[in-house]
């Protein structure tokens, strides 16, 4: 059983933040500015996204074909979602949201390649994306409704029409709750993506270790465990493919919902 513990520890170590050229090394990345394994694969997914889009845009036809078809279908999917969540006014934010979607999608999918890691599997990357969204949607809200107007819209119109007594008690209470809620949004955006990608990779790793250890036992029970784990590994692999897509979609959807909420802040 000692062997299992060691293998598990070394596999889980593989998922911690390490210098990129020393993935199986024993020292975690301590300095603030060092190229880590996650960031290495993040840069790869950045290059892949850019290359994919450049290839797709190289030949623009009325009837797209090949890679252009895939990119166009993805963009149309995001544009329809934006249309639903933000209305006509939000159309100009669709390219931003599509960029987020494709970047997160590619970085999630690259994490499925054995040996590679998802760039979104580290909290720093997802927090950066989430703070970007947070700043953008609040900027849009302040720009559209004015500083006071946007802050006022945090309180529902029913309370705004009350007398001073209602405004000072219920209004202040609701306002504080809303502000806390707004600050929770980037936190949950970041942690949702990070937790799904990080934990998903770890589950695949653990089932992989079960297969290796089961075969190494060279007994009927060992082979049974290995076979069962292989089946589970394949199922989890398919599930992770699905999760990678869903998480990219949820991130894009929530971004568009938040921007839509900032655009239409005065309507409720």
């Amino acid at each position: 059983m000692d062997q299992f513990g060691d293998k598990l520890a070394s596999k889980l170590h593989h998922y911690s933040v390490l210098p990129w050229n020393d993935v199986y090394g024993s020292v975690e990345a301590a300095e603030a500015f060092v190229l880590t394994n996650y960031i290495f694969f993040l840069i790869i997914s950045f290059v892949v996204t850019l290359g994919f889009m450049l290839l797709a845009a190289r030949k623009l036809d009325m009837v797209p074909s090949g890679i252009g078809n895939v990119a166009e279908a993805g963009y149309e999917f995001i544009r329809n979602m934006c249309n639903e969540a933000m209305g006509k006014e939000g159309q100009k934010y669709a390219p931003f949201i599509a960029t987020l979607f494709f970047f997160i999608l590619f970085s999630n999918l690259i994490g499925l390649i054995p040996g590679a890691l998802p760039g979104t599997g580290t909290i720093g990357v997802t927090a950066t994306l989430a703070v970007m969204v947070f700043v953008l949607y609040n900027f849009i809200g302040f720009k559209k409704h004015g500083f006071i107007g946007y802050l006022k819209s945090f309180v529902p119109s029913g309370i705004r029409e009350m007398g001073w007594g209602g405004k000072l008690t219920l209004g202040v209470f609701v306002f504080v709750l809303e502000v806390v809620g707004h600050f929770l949004r980037p936190l949950t955006l970041a942690v949702r993506l990070f937790a799904n990608m990080f934990a998903g990779g770890m589950i695949l790793g653990i089932f992989g270790i079960f297969v290796v250890i089961g075969v190494a036992q060279l007994s009927a029970g060992g082979f049974a465990i290995a076979g069962l784990s292989t089946v589970m590994l394949l199922i989890m692999y398919a599930f992770k493919l699905f999760v990678g897509f869903i998480q990219a979609y949820v991130f894009a959807l929530l971004t568009s919902v938040y921007i839509g909420g900032a655009l239409h802040a005065d309507e409720h």
Binding site: M81, V191, V250
Partner: protein, 73 residues
């Protein structure tokens, strides 16, 4: 001793935080399937709303996950 209590607390924090959202997401998903079966033409809209509702429910479990990471670090 203190370290092991921290790890125990981390496990409990995530486990307990996952109960409510687990039930909640189950209810949201089930109701969404019900709605889609009744009105297949609204499936797209129901699906979008379902994902938003799941995102809000899930946030509570994620806070527990963060707490677990903080406690076990």
């Amino acid at each position: 001793m203190e370290g092991s209590l921290n790890v125990l607390g981390a496990g409990l924090a995530y486990g307990l935080a996952a109960i409510g959202p687990g039930l909640g997401i189950g209810i949201v998903g089930g109701k969404a399937v019900e709605a889609m079966a009744r009105q297949p033409e609204m499936a797209g809209k129901v699906q979008t709303t379902m994902f938003i509702a799941i995102a809000f429910t899930e946030a509570l479990a994620l806070l527990g996950f963060v707490l677990a990471l903080i406690l076990s670090a």
